[in-house]
C-alpha cells in the first residue's frame, strides 16, 4: 500500500514526540522509584511529602532544577562546557528510536510500536552509546577542575574497556538469530514463550551475565560509579554543572539505564513476547491484543530497572584497578569463550 508522504511524516513526528515524552516521564519516575526503593533498603521512607506517597516529587524536582540559577564558572572553556550536556542527553534519547515496544502492527503504512525499523538496529544502538562518552569526557575537560578531569578520564577509560566486553557478549545472540534487526531477534524467541527466550532456551546466560555487568559499567552505575565517586572526586565530571545542565546529565544517566534495560529485554528475554507463548487463547479485541505485548515489554524493563536500584542499594563501590582487571581479565575472556561455544554448537547442529 502506497501511503502519502505527508501522512507518513505527520505520523512519524507524532510517534517521536509521544516516545520522547513517555521516555522523559519514565526517567522522572525511575528517579522517584530509586529514591523510594533505596530508602526502604536503608530502612527509611524516601520521599513522602509531595503528593500521595510522594508521587508528585519528580515534578517538584524538575521545577526546582528549571528555576535554579545557571552558573557558568569563569575558568571553563565555554563552547564545550555548554555542548557536553547536550551531547550526553541527545545520545541517550536517540538510541530509544531503534527499540520496538510491541508487535509488528502497521497503521497506514506506519509501524505503530517502533520509531524506525532498521536492518542494523542493534549496531546503531551500540554506535550511539559509544558516541555518548564524549558528553562525559568533554564536560570533565572543559570544566577546568581537577576533580572533573579525573572523573572524565576514569569514565572514558572505563567505557572503552567495557564496551569491548559488552559488544562481544551480544555476538552469541546475533549468531543465534543471524540478524542485527531487533524484530528478527525477538521473533526468533517468541515461538514458545519462556522456553525459547535466549536466556533459557538459547542457553545465553553467560552472555547475559557479561552483558549486564558491562552495562552497569557503561552507564556509570554502582558498583562501577567511579567517574562520580563522591568520597574521592566530589561529584566527578559534573562537579561544576548546575541547574538545567546538571539535570541534563542526570536525565541522560537514567535514559541510558532504560535503554540498557530495553536492549537486555529484547536480546535475552524475548522482548514484547509473552512468557506463556501461545498457551492461552487470544482474548479481548484487537486493541487488547495490540497492547498486551507492550505490557509484557514494560514489565520486563521494569524488572531491569529494579535490579539496577537493588544492586545500587546493596553493593559497595569497586576499586579502580579491580574494575579494570575485572573487565579485561575476566569479562572479556568469558565473552569470547561464549562466542566460541555458541558457534561450535551452531556448526554441530548445521552439520
Amino acid at each position: 500500500m502506497e501511503v502519502s508522504f505527508w501522512i507518513f511524516l505527520l505520523l512519524s513526528v507524532l510517534k517521536v514526540i509521544v516516545v520522547t515524552v513517555l521516555l522523559l516521564m519514565s526517567v522522572a519516575y525511575t528517579v522517584l522509584l530509586e529514591r523510594k526503593v533505596v530508602g526502604r533498603i536503608q530502612n527509611r521512607w524516601g520521599p513522602t511529602r509531595v503528593g500521595p506517597f510522594g508521587l508528585l516529587q519528580p515534578l517538584a524536582d524538575g521545577a526546582k532544577l528549571f528555576l535554579k540559577e545557571d552558573l557558568l564558572p569563569t575558568g571553563v572553556y565555554r563552547p564545550l562546557f555548554i555542548l557536553a550536556p547536550i551531547i550526553a542527553l541527545s545520545c541517550a534519547l536517540m538510541s530509544i528510536s531503534m527499540v520496538p515496544f510491541g508487535a509488528d502492527i502497521h497503521y497506514r503504512g506506519v509501524d505503530l510500536f517502533q520509531i524506525s525499523d532498521v536492518n542494523i538496529g542493534l549496531l546503531i544502538i551500540l554506535g550511539i552509546t559509544s558516541v555518548g562518552v564524549y558528553g562525559v569526557a568533554l564536560s570533565g575537560w572543559s570544566s577546568n577542575n581537577k576533580y572533573s578531569l579525573l572523573g572524565a578520564l576514569r569514565a572514558s577509560a572505563q567505557v572503552i574497556s567495557y564496551e569491548l566486553a559488552l559488544a562481544l557478549s551480544l555476538v552469541g545472540v546475533i549468531l543465534l538469530s543471524q540478524s542485527f534487526r531487533l524484530r528478527d531477534i525477538v521473533d526468533l524467541q517468541a515461538r514458545h514463550g519462556l522456553l525459547t527466550w535466549n536466556f533459557f532456551g538459547g542457553l545465553q546466560f553467560v552472555a547475559f551475565f557479561v552483558y549486564i555487568m558491562a552495562a552497569f559499567a557503561e552507564t556509570n552505575r554502582t558498583p562501577f560509579d567511579l567517574p562520580e565517586a563522591e568520597s574521592e572526586l566530589t561529584a566527578g565530571y559534573h562537579t561544576e554543572y548546575s541547574s538545567m545542565k546538571f539535570a541534563m546529565f542526570f536525565m541522560a544517566e537514567y535514559a541510558n539505564m532504560i535503554t540498557v534495560g530495553c536492549v537486555a529485554t529484547l536480546l535475552f528475554f524475548g522482548g514484547w513476547s509473552s512468557p506463556f507463548g501461545h498457551l492461552f487463547p487470544a482474548f479481548g479485541g484487537v486493541v487488547v491484543q495490540a497492547l498486551l505485548p507492550v505490557f509484557w515489554f514494560v514489565v520486563k524493563v521494569f524488572c531491569f530497572l529494579f535490579l539496577y536500584i537493588w544492586v545500587r542499594g546493596t553493593l559497595p563501590r569497586f576499586r579502580y584497578d579491580q574494575l579494570m582487571g575485572f573487565g579485561w581479565k575476566y569479562l572479556m575472556p568469558l565473552a569470547i569463550a561464549n562466542i566460541i561455544v555458541t558457534s561450535l554448537w551452531l556448526a554441530y547442529h548445521a552439520a
Binding site: I120, G127, S130, A137, W141
Partner: protein
C-alpha cells in the same frame, strides 16, 4: 534524495576536515576529526554499506577518537604555536602536491567511462554478504591481517615496558 544527502554530508565532511587544520587548540581539532569520521559513515551508508557505516561510528568515532581526546586531556596539551614551517616543505611540498593532484585528476578523467558505473542508493550490501566474502573468499588475508595487528599490539607493549 540520495544526491541531496550526499552533498549535505560531503560538504560537512570537507568543512570538518578544513576546520581540523585551521583550529589551533588540539581538542577542537580532535572534535572536527570526529565530525569527519561520522560524516564518512553517512557516506558509506548512502553507498549501501550498512555494516561498514556502523563499524565506522563504533570503532572510529566511538573508540579511537575517545582515545585521542583522552590523551589530549591527560597531557593537557595547550595551544599550538604558529611557525613559518620549513623552507623545504614550501619548496617541494606545494609543487609536489600540485603534481600529484594533476596526475590523479588526469587518470580519473581519462578513465571516466569505466568508473562512473556506481550510483548512490543502487544496491545494499548486507552484513551476510560482507561476512561471506570476508570469511570464505578472503579468509587467509583476513587472518594474516589479524595476526599482523596482534604483532603490532605486542610490539607496543614490549616498547612501553622496556625500562623495567
Amino acid at each position: 534524495m540520495h544526491l541531496v544527502l550526499f552533498f549535505i554530508f560531503g560538504g560537512l565532511c570537507v568543512a570538518g576536515a578544513l576546520n581540523l587544520l585551521f583550529q589551533r587548540h588540539p581538542i577542537n581539532s580532535a572534535l572536527s576529526l570526529i565530525v569527519v569520521m561520522s560524516t564518512l559513515a553517512v557516506l558509506y551508508l548512502l553507498l549501501g554499506a550498512e555494516f561498514l557505516a556502523a563499524a565506522q561510528v563504533i570503532v572510529y568515532s566511538g573508540a579511537i577518537m575517545v582515545l585521542f581526546t583522552f590523551v589530549i586531556m591527560l597531557l593537557n596539551a595547550g595551544r599550538e604555536e604558529r611557525t613559518h614551517g620549513s623552507k623545504a616543505a614550501y619548496a617541494i611540498g606545494i609543487p609536489g602536491a600540485a603534481a600529484l593532484f594533476a596526475a590523479l585528476a588526469y587518470i580519473v578523467l581519462s578513465n571516466g567511462k569505466h568508473l562512473s558505473s556506481a550510483r548512490l542508493g543502487d544496491y545494499l550490501v548486507t552484513t551476510g554478504d560482507l561476512s561471506r566474502v570476508l570469511f570464505r573468499d578472503l579468509l587467509l588475508p583476513f587472518e594474516v591481517t589479524s595476526v599482523l595487528i596482534l604483532v603490532a599490539i605486542l610490539g607496543a607493549v614490549a616498547l612501553a615496558r622496556r625500562e623495567h
